[in-house]
């Protein structure tokens, strides 16, 4: 069902891969587009776009309860993606894969449902200082509701977590540790085995925000032994509006439903309603059928190239970019952890990140600027925001050259 790359180690032909992404072949402000905003959302290969078209032109229908042929075809395709994600994340069972809108939706589901059942007054929830707002605010709201407390793992100067501080924070009161696999602002890959082991020793559960990991890091939720893993399709070459939550069966079964409505029930009556089994218990309403069907092709794309090969190309780009950035006067790299995904944030002394973003856009280079939805992290570095370049498999060194050249011109002008 899933296309898996045969030779696992190979050098990718980037120019051939670029042909699968029609969006890349355009000019922005009269210059060739260099899309370095991949941590915000990746572009989509033809096979994903084609899957949407095939679905809508071929067998669109509402799923699960329909018994006519189109409904059966749509249901089959939809459920195939569940199997493919189950393999992609290496969950024990396919029923542990719940379809959601994306990472934010997945985390809200856990904060609300797990929180409702398992978080009580006086409990503690640990998040890291690297987290995206989506992995902070749901826990803040839960903590306020339940009179629980939020504890924060501090971040070291290079963007790594302070694990010793974490090990002091954790205690019998800790019920949940919520950390990302990789930081969207800095690229830091967190030492999940260490975190998960320490959490499980005190009986705490661990939710991993995998938004930034899926496109870059080989995943295995069983060997990680995390309790929840949240992902967004649009961050790994898939469509917007679709994502998933992995959760261990025994937890998902004990958790109350999150949203309610069609499909997640077994029987409804005004005297009492019983809920469906997992995963359906957590999938209320008509799902995002087309995008979930197409999501399978995003996984197939990644598998065909091979995550190892993708990561190896991206690491070359990152290294090349860091070298180039280091030649720019007054430029300071933000986030220099030893283990990183292909994200590089930086600031230039005396030049606002907004101006840098605008100037780069003027030459077709798309970067993201601002706090990247990690205000607490920015605050801990004493800055308002950064410029962030994040690379995907289709990026090239000559695109990086254009960015470095643009930065050089800006600095020359501003100083």
């Amino acid at each position: 069902m899933a296309e898996v790359s045969q030779e696992s180690k190979k050098v990718l032909d980037i120019q051939e891969i670029r042909k699968e992404f029609p969006v890349l072949d355009q000019e922005v402000n009269g210059k060739p587009l260099a899309y370095f905003d991949n941590a915000a959302t990746t572009q989509k290969p033809l096979q994903v776009i084609q899957a949407l078209e095939d679905y809508y032109k071929g067998y669109n229908a509402n799923i699960h309860r329909g018994i006519h042929t189109l409904a059966e075809r749509a249901t089959k395709a939809f459920e195939e993606t569940r199997v493919v994600l189950h393999q992609f994340l290496n969950s024990k069972e396919k029923e542990e894969i719940i379809f959601t809108k994306g990472t934010t939706d997945s985390i809200n589901l856990v904060a609300s449902s797990f929180g409702r059942r398992f978080i009580n007054e006086g409990d503690e929830i640990i998040v890291s200082g690297l987290e995206h707002h989506s992995n902070i605010v749901p826990w803040q709201i839960l903590a306020e509701d339940k009179k629980a407390t939020i504890k924060v793992i501090p971040v070291l100067d290079n963007g790594e977590l302070d694990y010793e501080a974490f090990e002091k924070l954790i205690s019998k009161r800790t019920k949940m540790v919520a950390v990302n696999h990789a930081s969207n602002s800095l690229g830091t890959i967190n030492d999940l085995p260490r975190i998960i082991k320490a959490a499980h020793q005190v009986g705490a559960k661990v939710l991993v925000d995998g938004a930034q990991a899926t496109a870059h890091i080989a995943l295995d939720v069983q060997s990680l032994d995390c309790d929840f893993y949240a992902i967004s399709a649009h961050k790994f070459y898939g469509p917007t509006g679709a994502g998933a939550l992995y959760g261990k069966r025994e937890l998902l079964e004990e958790m109350p439903p999150y949203q309610s409505g069609g499909e997640m029930i077994k029987d409804v009556s005004f005297s009492g309603t019983t809920f469906n089994d997992i995963p359906y218990k957590f999938e209320a309403g008509t799902p995002n059928i087309a995008d979930i069907v197409a999501l399978k092709e995003a996984v197939n794309f990644v598998n065909r190239l091979g995550k190892e090969n993708i990561a190896s190309h991206e690491m070359n780009l990152l290294k090349y970019a860091v070298e180039g950035l280091s030649t720019i006067k007054d430029l300071k790299l933000v986030g220099t952890a030893a283990e990183k995904v292909s994200v590089q944030s930086f600031i230039i002394d005396g030049v606002h990140h907004f101006d840098i973003g605008q100037m780069l856009d003027a030459r077709g280079v798309a970067v993201r600027t601002g706090h990247h939805c990690t205000q607490p992290l920015m605050e801990s570095f004493g800055i308002e925001g950064t410029v962030r370049a994040s690379f995907a498999v289709y990026n090239t060194v000559s695109e990086i050259d254009s960015m470095i050249e643009g930065l050089g011109r800006i600095v020359k002008f501003m100083k």
């Binding site: 309860r65 018994i67 059966e72 089959k76």
Partner: protein
């Protein structure tokens, strides 16, 4: 001795071949077969004997006779009853191992394979699974 699983499947495929793939006729024929299914004892139609995963209800029981497995089944819908009658025809009288190891290719050949893929809307796949589970349980009974 009963025909083999393979032989019976081939007979079924042969019988259906005259319908020439016309699905409407195929459904009519399946319903007809269902009407001929041996009636199931009403007291066996308990919730415990319902096959899970069906939109329509299927009751299914199994027992051993001389180390062969026999099935009795019923359904509240005519087509499902016809489908289950095909399965009991194939499996009743076979050894547990022959059932457990059976490779069912006839659904594909008679155009009914689409009932197998999507377990939630229809119980064909669930029925087959349940029959194999019965066979497994009864096998351990023999061996015990």
């Amino acid at each position: 001795m009963a025909d083999s699983v393979k032989d019976i499947q081939d007979q079924i495929i042969e019988e259906f071949s005259i319908l020439d793939g016309d699905m409407e006729m195929t459904n009519f024929y399946i319903m007809e077969l269902g009407q001929k299914l041996d009636p199931m004892d009403e007291e066996k139609k308990t919730d415990d004997n319902i096959v899970k995963g069906c939109q329509s209800k299927v009751w299914l029981t199994a027992w051993l006779e001389e180390n062969k497995v026999f099935f009795s089944a019923d359904s509240n819908t005519a087509i499902t009853k016809g489908l289950v009658s095909l399965l009991t025809r194939i499996f009743s009288g076979q050894t547990p191992d022959d059932i457990i190891n059976a490779d069912l290719y006839f659904p594909q050949e008679i155009g009914m394979d689409r009932f197998i893929g999507t377990q939630r809307s229809n119980g064909f796949g669930a029925m087959i699974k349940q029959m194999k589970l019965y066979a497994l349980a009864l096998k351990s009974k023999i061996e015990a």
